[in-house]
Amino acid sequence: MKRIINSTAFVYLFFCAIAYAEVPTFTIEIRDHLFFPSQLIIPANTKVKLIVINRDATPEEFESYELNREKVIMGGAKAIIFVGPLVPGDYPFFGEFNPKTAQGIIRVEN
């Protein structure tokens, strides 16, 4: 039983290591219901790690239909979201809790 738990934990951590290993990382901050930067440029055809830090006290939901990503980020918390590989183009994202102000775009360039 202990062996099963150990090997499951090992496999899980192994996959986490794969997931988190050596991936270009970009940071987006949320301040006053705005994204900083509101336009982010990332390389094409590459898996990218986005770190979204919510500097507001209230929660926000990072969402993008084009990127197919959706995550609630509590006040003061940060979230890790993987995107890509993506073909070149513009991929808008928004804060679902404050959609009028929290808007941004991820530009994928070669």
Partner: protein, 276 residues
């Protein structure tokens, strides 16, 4: 206020559609509807608890807690829907529902009914918990803004009202369906719904990098844009995605196959029996 209406509407709609479909099935199978009260109560309690522990959930498992929990909730719903579909599928091949007499005295049907009630409760309560928690989190952000809070609450109430109304329309559309068509149409819709939810599971794993995405299978945004009202409705009902990743397609097929296989098996068995 419009933002609040739209957000709450989206969340409520997803849960309301599932609940309406199951209530209609419950009605057609001449089952009691009391399961829906337990399911709603459990779902609302669950959504509240999930919202209270969001910080802890988010930080769990190295920051992947939210996605993993969502995946577990979606998976439970998908599994329950698949089991339910396979259970009621024989009804599509049986004589019309009008002649299907409920036999409350037979213990076999009693335990089968208990299982169906259990599946109903899991499906509805987990869906309500998942969607509801997001609404509580959203509303919690406005507690310190006394100027906006009343318009947000009103907007939320309106959104919830619209969602429930659409659910009611769905219920009546299905409940008043002709007996001959009900089971096949219901099975079709619920299968597509389960497929859509399975794509959500894949999306959670893609988001935390446990799965890798490649180029999308297609881009149907020229047909139905995800931002349009039709796109949003199709998303709520079928999990419509204009750019599905290949792994999402795999999850979809894995979910839909058991039901398709059960259908094929029953058709084959019916043919075999009628040829004897």
């Amino acid at each position: 206020m419009v933002d609040a209406v739209l957000l709450v509407l989206r969340e409520v709609l997803e849960a309301a559609l599932i609940m309406s479909l199951l209530l209609a099935l419950s009605h057609k199978l001449q089952l009691r509807f009391r399961w829906s009260l337990s399911a709603l109560f459990l779902g609302l309690m669950g959504s509240w608890i999930l919202a209270q522990y969001t910080y802890e959930i988010t930080d769990a498992m190295d920051g992947t807690g939210q996605e993993l929990l969502n995946a577990v909730l979606y998976f439970s719903v998908v599994l329950s829907v698949v089991v339910l579909s396979v259970l009621i599928l024989p009804l599509a091949f049986a004589p019309p529902l009008a002649t299907h007499r409920r036999t409350p005295d037979s213990p076999e049907s009693g335990s089968r009914h208990k299982l169906i009630y259990g599946l109903f409760i899991i499906i509805v309560s987990f869906s309500v918990a998942r969607e509801g928690s997001e609404i509580w989190i959203y509303l919690s952000g406005f507690t310190n803004q006394s100027d906006m809070i009343s318009s947000v609450y009103i907007g939320a109430a309106i959104g919830a009202g619209i969602g429930v109304s659409l659910g009611a329309i769905t219920y009546y559309a299905f409940a008043f369906m002709h007996k001959k068509y009900f089971v096949p149409v219901f099975l079709l819709v619920i299968t597509l719904l389960a497929g859509g939810l399975s794509m959500q599971i894949a999306k959670q794993f893609l988001q935390i990098g446990l799965l890798n995405s490649t180029a999308p299978l297609w881009d149907s945004s020229f047909l139905v844009n995800e931002h349009s009202w039709l796109g949003e409705l199709l998303y709520a009902l079928l999990g419509y995605d204009a750019r599905p990743a290949p792994i999402q397609g795999v999850f979809y097929l894995l979910t839909v196959s058991p039901i398709l296989l059960a259908w094929v098996w029953h058709t084959w068995r019916l043919r075999a029996n009628t040829h004897e």
